[in-house]
């Protein structure tokens, strides 16, 4: 759309000025009412592009056309085209410069700015044209937008976006939704309950939002309207339940969430000597619903409620000090509703009490050991269904470094030693043989390497996170991290005998994250951050408060389930709501 012609306006202004100069004030007064009509309206400025997105071309220009409305006087157009902070030449495509043309021979984001000078107050326009390389492939990603708690917006919001590989890309501004669904009530079997609720998009895509309800069942889910799958985990005896599709609508002000209290499941747990096992924690997860759990009484019996479904995952965690593994197994829910007879059997135990914990030759008083491992069969259910054994047994050494009585299942286990806080070592321990006199934690090993940017220069400030795997992970060892120093080199302590994976990322966004296995030699060599592309966008908000300090994370969609839960890139919005993320060239 072309702007309104201003020639007549200009003539009118000149005419009025001339009349004034001739002293014909009356004539001017007659038309002054039309000209000085209170405050000039705020005009609207927009620009359309053709083509958009465009392909790189040294001959075919991109045309930008100004669409200006609601302005007064003469409009003068002042354009600017920038790519990578460099000015891009352009030519007027219209005599009044209301449209321009420019060549975009290189892929990337071309920022177009337009200032309209007129009698009205016109905002400065800034927009982007994406110029894509030949053969650019669109790929789906998910943006998770998390406003700070207490803001007018909802909780985390997921938005799907299409991004093109191989080039920086600007995506249209994202509207930040405000909370529409407020106070609700949750109940079980018709009675309000304190509960934990998890709302997932019914489409199956996206992350969930968690809410807690108090004893009166009241909660504040702060969801955007839509369909959700709801998981409810009541506190107390009721079974968790799932609602496959629950519609959050702003108009349904007090729609309650209710589900069945579940069916009773009961049974007994007996130790390898066939004696009742009190104090064991029995939990059951049905079709992925969070588990219900019960603690066995003095007679080894337990009672709990389980929800309907097809498959139950049963876990028995024995009380400490008995040298028993956890029992784990799957069973049909129909079986779970029968009386359950759980018995430990099929393994022997060996006491490692008296074994001395040492650290580089010296005793390690108050050192801690976690024994982990697996037994293919450690129990039986209802005399016909074998249960797997997972060893997770901890012991703390005394002042002399010796372990107290610590029975362990006889199996090929791993002892994860923590002779002092922050120091770890993983030792194989075969408890089918007599125990060793001591467990020696060698000095921490060091993973070394050099991190470079995607441009192959040193990347000081990058972060190397060492993620335990195998026995270390099973023992609950946390991931540790180190910041890369000058020259790009790093050296980080790791547990001897431990398996690790290194996640290398750069807060300064000089490249995308890399995930590499740490070899036994502990030498990672040179790791280059991945090539990445910058995507830019902006959050807009309907509320008065600017959308600043909002977390924006990018997740892959066409990747493994595990990777879908780990952000590829993270950013926070600035004062204007703008943000910038780095997208890896290749998905993990």
């Amino acid at each position: 759309m072309k702007p309104r012609s201003s020639t007549s306006d200009r003539a009118l202004v000149r005419g009025a000025a001339l009349l004034w100069s001739l002293g014909l004030g009356l004539a001017l007064a007659a038309c002054a009412g039309d000209m000085s009509d209170s405050t000039p309206p705020t005009c609207a400025v927009n620009v359309t592009y053709s083509p958009d997105p465009a392909s790189p071309s040294a001959t075919q220009p991109i045309r930008a056309v100004a669409n200006v409305s609601d302005y007064q006087g003469i409009a003068r157009y002042k354009w600017r085209v920038v790519r990578d902070e460099a000015e891009v030449p352009f030519a007027a495509a219209d005599p009044d410069v209301s449209s321009i043309e420019f060549l975009a021979a290189t892929p990337g984001v071309y920022r177009v700015e337009l200032r309209v000078d007129s009698a009205s107050s016109c905002p400065t326009y800034a927009g982007d044209v994406n110029v894509l390389p030949a053969g650019a492939v669109a790929r789906a990603y998910r943006l998770r937008i998390t406003p700070p708690p207490g803001s007018a917006s909802t909780g985390p919001q997921d938005q799907r976006v299409q991004l093109f590989g191989g080039v920086d890309y600007a995506i249209p501004s994202r509207a930040l939704l405000t909370a529409e669904v407020r106070a609700r009530q949750v109940s079980s079997g018709g009675a309000p309950v304190a509960a934990y609720l998890r709302f997932s998009p019914a489409s199956g895509e996206g992350l969930f939002t968690e809410v807690s309800a108090g004893a009166d069942g009241r909660m504040d889910p702060r969801l955007t309207p839509g369909d959700y799958q709801v998981v409810v985990v009541p506190q107390g005896a009721q079974a968790p339940y799932r609602i496959a599709r629950w519609t959050a609508a702003a108009s349904a002000a007090e729609a309650a969430i209710d589900g069945p209290p579940g069916a009773v499941a009961s049974g007994t747990v007996r130790d390898p000597d066939d004696a009742p096992l009190p104090g064991a924690r029995v939990s059951m997860k049905v079709d992925g619903l969070p588990a219900t759990f019960a603690v066995t009484g003095a007679d080894g019996s337990f009672t709990m409620r389980v929800s309907g479904g097809s498959t139950a995952e049963l876990t028995v965690v024995p009380p400490p000090g008995l040298g028993l593994p956890r029992l784990v197994g799957s069973l049909p829910v129909a079986v779970a509703r029968e009386p359950l007879d759980l018995r430990y059997q099929g393994f022997s135990r060996r006491d490692v009490g008296g074994v001395q914990l040492r650290r580089q030759g010296a005793i390690a008083p108050a050192g801690r050991v976690t024994f982990v491992g697996e037994l293919p069969s450690a129990g039986i259910l209802n005399a016909g269904r074998f249960l797997r054994g997972e060893v997770f047994i901890t012991a703390t050494a005394g002042a002399d470094g010796r372990l107290p009585a610590t029975p362990l299942p006889q199996a090929a286990l791993t002892a994860v030693l923590e002779p002092r806080a922050g120091e770890l070592a993983a030792l194989p321990l075969d408890t089918t043989a007599p125990p060793p006199a001591d467990l020696e934690a060698a000095a921490m090993e060091r993973v070394t390497g050099t991190v470079r940017t995607s441009a192959a220069v040193a990347a000081p400030g990058a972060v190397v996170e060492l993620i335990p795997r195998g026995a270390l992970a099973a023992a609950g060892a946390p991931a540790t991290s180190v910041v890369v120093g000058g020259g790009g080199a790093f050296s980080a302590p790791v547990a001897p005998g431990g398996e690790y994976r290194a996640a290398i990322s750069d807060p300064q966004r000089r490249g995308t994250s890399q995930l590499v296995d740490v070899p036994a030699s502990r030498a990672l060599g040179v790791v280059s951050l991945g090539r990445g592309w910058r995507i830019t966008s902006k959050l807009t908000s309907l509320s008065a408060s600017p959308p600043r300090a909002i977390s924006v994370e990018l997740y892959c969609v066409e990747c493994s389930a595990a990777q879908q839960q780990r952000p590829l890139s993270a950013a926070v919005t600035d004062e204007s709501g703008a943000f910038s993320l780095l997208v890896p060239d290749e998905l993990p």
Partner: protein, 389 residues
């Protein structure tokens, strides 16, 4: 010179009205009178009178008395009197002059034949000197070729408009010791090109400052000059910017910036939020999404990161004893917890505390789930309470 019959009255020009186009009614009345006189004279036979054309008289009238600046528009008008009430043609010319009226351009900057003469005052003469005077000339000639006896000339002084600093702005939120702030001064000058207006920056820091230098920043707007300042002490900083044009005229603008110390960092956003008790039924990552801080925010709003917030993680789980155990070596923004490492029904507390470059001690007891040095919503400690299932 042509002679016409005797006239008994002269034409009068009214200011602001064109007198040189004689009204038709006046013309016919005059004609009738002349005819009558001629008839009487001839019939009497006693005398003969011829109509003698007289020169028009002109004056230049300047409408406004406001000072004339370069780049502005000046309008002058002609007052014309033709004794014969004939049609008078005008010829205007305007000339730009430098320091003296002897140094005017040979070529006029504007010409006109209208009653009003409007001309835009140039900034530079043809010899590329600053315009300091204007000369306007007017020549008039009636329809019988009689010119005004003395060509009119009006010399006008052109004053220099002083430059102005129209805005002295800062970019960003608040002013904090150690954090770079961007100062943007916008200049304007009515009659000199902006490139010729020089800005002088003066910084008056509080006592104790080492007087950090201003660093020039690029600016896409030619009217704006941008500087970066990194305050090194708290207090009131005076920033004074002076614009000077080629004629030496100046304009200044001064602003006071109150610089504060580095505030404690705030754990603004966590994933998942730590406000409500949560369930741990699968491997989950607990992470800090946003830290707001003057110098060490996370993630960095602009790259490269100006600093680095640091995190201290700790865990308390009944199955691992009563004490809260620091997760030594965990310095990142997130921790993964596996429910398999705990017992069903066990309530685990995962805690994160944030610190910036300023050493501070949290004033709260270990049992407090959150802690704020400033006693408001800006918390440096958050605790997730997780029930293992």
């Amino acid at each position: 010179m042509a002679r016409r019959g005797l006239r008994s009255e002269t034409g009068v020009s009214l200011p602001g009205r064109a007198p040189f186009a004689r009204p038709a009614s006046a013309r016919s009345t005059l004609c009738a009178r002349s005819t009558l006189i001629a008839f009487c004279a001839l019939s009497a036979g006693c005398f003969y009178l011829d109509d003698i054309n007289q020169r028009p008289a002109i004056e230049i009238f300047r409408r406004t008395t406001t000072a004339i600046e370069r780049g502005s528009t000046v309008t002058v008008s002609a007052i014309v009197r033709d004794p014969d009430s004939g049609s008078v043609s005008l010829s205007w010319a305007g000339y730009a002059c430098a320091a003296t009226l002897d140094a005017c351009d040979d070529t006029p900057i504007a010409e006109s034949s209208a009653i009003d003469f409007e001309l835009e005052v140039p900034r530079r003469t043809a010899a590329d000197q600053s315009v300091q005077h204007l000369r306007v000339t007017l020549v008039a000639q009636d329809d019988r070729g009689a010119a005004a006896l003395v060509p009119q000339r009006l010399d006008l002084d052109v004053v220099n408009a002083a430059p102005q600093i129209t805005a002295l702005q800062t970019v960003g939120r608040g002013f904090v010791v150690g954090r770079a702030l961007e100062l943007r001064a916008q200049r304007s000058d009515a009659d000199d090109p902006l490139s010729s207006v020089v800005l002088t920056w003066e910084v008056f820091p509080p006592v104790g400052s080492t007087r950090p230098p201003l660093r020039a920043l690029p600016s896409a707007d030619p009217s704006v000059e941008a500087k970066e300042l990194i305050p090194d002490v708290t207090g009131a900083w005076e920033i004074k910017v002076t614009a000077t044009d080629p004629s030496g005229a100046t304009g200044t603008l001064q602003r006071t910036l109150v610089v504060t110390g580095d505030s404690p960092p705030c754990l603004t956003s966590l994933s998942p939020p730590a406000a409500a008790p949560l369930f741990l039924d699968e491997l989950r990552r607990f992470s800090v999404l946003v830290v707001e801080d003057d110098l060490d925010p996370y993630p960095a709003v602009t790259a490269p990161s100006p600093g680095a917030a640091s995190f201290a993680w700790s865990l308390r789980a009944p199955s691992r004893g009563p004490a809260r155990l620091p997760l030594t070596g965990v310095g990142g923004t997130g921790v993964e917890l596996d429910p398999a490492a705990f017992s069903p029904g066990e309530v685990v507390e995962l805690r994160v505390e944030v610190a910036d470059r300023e050493p501070r001690t949290l004033p709260c007891a270990d049992g407090d789930a959150t802690c704020s040095l400033t006693g408001n919503a800006c918390a440096q400690r958050q605790t997730w309470r997780l029930e293992v299932r």
